[in-house]
Symmetry: C2
Subunit: 335 residues, 2 copies
DNA sequence: CTGAAAGCGCTTACAG
DNA sequence: CTGAAAGCGCTTACAG
């Protein structure tokens, strides 16, 4: 049987209240009692019961993380960043995945609510068009922070990349390299970040008086087979793009492999720029030019914001919505 | 304020006991009452409080996962597999990282204990040589299952790859390709899986009467810079290996990039075989031959085993220690 | 089939 | 500085 506060109290013939105070650094407690209790607790291998404490104090000491998929390098690193801050605060995390699926997302939110997490860091799935489940979160006074992928219409803090600007810079880089016909392999259409990156792409083309050709733009879905899509984009030698800006590094890598298979050379025939600056960039050949996207820093920032809300600290308006500027890391795929 | 069972009871002028029974599908409850309670709960947006229920029943409905790092593709996929089974059981997971650090591992085990998880799936860090913290787990009757990386001397279920055999097959493949001098870039020396893969390598060499040259073997640490190590292995044209079997795909990729930088050709001058058959294999050029290592299946198996222990089901001895056989997936790096 | 009561392990306002 | 008491939200043995 696990040792409880009562066992320690009995052992020392004092009250459980005193044991609790000694263990929790309560101000009104004599040094001697405290030392004695702490030592006895250790000897008896006492492990605090967070669950019982949480029930009493109505603070579970846990926060929820809900991401589309944990196997994505970006989200895995983000969780890493979040957990650093969370454990500094003595909290633990409950991590859920939506698998890019709306219904899973709704279920997971419910489950987090039942776990009585004190807050949630949330990246919406690419399948989510309805935000009732987030209103439920609000109805239960559970604070949340949007991370990277943001649902419109909520007055909660957000941490995201400056996707528009990052995309703009990526395309500007391709233009300055002398590329004439720049295609875009976009992300899932419902995602705000897909739109922002697409708009950044458009804006760069406009700024430099490039013709906008809708045939050079395709939005992908995560469950799609992208091979045929990429092939179609490059099959006609007359109309094919000489450069490609993709929504993600994963897509860029797929594109590079496919383009090479089609007998074209990267970057000579087609330059490619990805988004994310992930570990894949240095592995693929040619190495991939990419827009930075800092998951760890963003995760840290999101967790810090969430704790400010939990602790009801004032957040100055300009800190409510953090955007990380990106830069283009130039590698061989666009050199 | 959150809605409780008591609020529903008041609303319907019945007792909280009855509400609880209705919500939990208790056998002795009239259909009408049940329907009414379930409907009212929904209308009132009741969310069960797992924490309170857990305190009362002494079942937290949670299990802990402790892995070296969540950003590793292998462990991220394993967590994915584990979570499938865990949510089927109506449980949730608390995921912790040791960062390949013994002290973090000890802290995380304590934290899981305080969360009163009902079981732990555990992959020990490459820094762990002392297993007292695992004895603590046992002392608290918290069942655990070793996943992939196993500490010796515990009578708990294990799920692992057949590392010895996988390594043997990898090296045998290189031998059958006519390679004469096969090096090994090993993993962290403390890990059992490093030893097993090394021993499989040795055994293959012995079986085929190859000379064993200790200069062709290096054990790495995760925090090391492997560049110089690889460079040293290949700098002397007379003594350099014409094939390399590595502990992981990550190391294989590093090796390929470095070997190419040294002006050597893969696979002509040096064949390379990795371990893990991860997503990197198809991305690197040349594509990487690798030994399969099925994280999702292994995660599923570990979770199923853990629930059998939690539910005190009998586990036939031959199911206590599951070993996944591997095969070699041949790609261009050894063709 | 339903209710009153006890209690899971803790914390904390109140009293001394 | 310490203790007795109440209570967090639930479940369940007991009684009817």
């Amino acid at each position: 049987m696990a040792v409880t506060i009562k066992d320690i109290a009995n052992e020392l013939s004092i009250s459980p209240s005193t044991v609790s105070r000694a263990l929790n650094d309560h101000p009104n407690i004599s040094k001697d009692t405290k030392t004695l209790v702490v030592k006895t607790a250790k000897d008896m291998k006492y492990q605090a019961n967070f669950i019982a404490a949480g029930l009493r104090t109505k603070r579970s000491n846990s926060i929820g993380i809900l991401v589309p998929q944990i196997t994505s390098n970006f989200f895995a690193s983000a969780i890493d960043g979040i957990q650093q801050i969370v454990s500094d605060h003595g909290y633990f995390t409950i991590i859920c995945q939506s698998n890019e699926n709306y219904h899973d997302e709704v279920d997971q939110i419910k489950s987090l609510l039942s776990c009585k997490v004190e807050g949630v860091i949330l990246s919406i799935s690419s399948d989510t068009k309805n935000y009732e489940h987030l209103e439920t979160l609000q109805a239960y006074d559970t604070p949340f922070v949007f991370f990277d992928r943001i649902a419109p219409g909520f007055e909660t803090p957000t941490v995201e990349a400056n996707d528009f600007k990052g995309a703009f810079q990526a395309v500007e880089h391709l233009i300055k390299r002398g590329r004439k016909k720049i295609g875009h392999l976009g992300g899932p259409g419902l995602l705000g970040i897909s739109k922002s990156r697409y708009e950044g792409y458009l804006e760069a083309l406009k700024t430099y008086d490039y013709e906008i050709n809708e045939n050079s733009v395709v939005f992908t879905k995560s469950e799609d087979d992208h091979g045929p899509i990429i092939e179609k984009m490059f099959e006609n030698p007359k109309t094919r793009p000489d450069a490609l800006f993709t929504f993600s590094d994963e897509l860029a890598v797929e594109a590079i492999l496919k383009i090479k298979k089609l007998g074209l050379n990267v970057p000579r025939d087609v330059s490619v720029v990805g988004f994310g600056n992930s570990n894949l960039c240095e592995i693929v050949e040619p190495s991939l030019t990419s827009v930075t996207h800092e998951p760890i820093e963003m995760g840290v920032a999101a967790a810090e914001l969430l704790f400010k809300v939990i602790e009801k600290k004032h957040i100055p308006p300009h800190q409510m919505h953090i955007k990380y500027d990106s830069k283009v890391i130039i590698r061989d795929s666009s050199r």
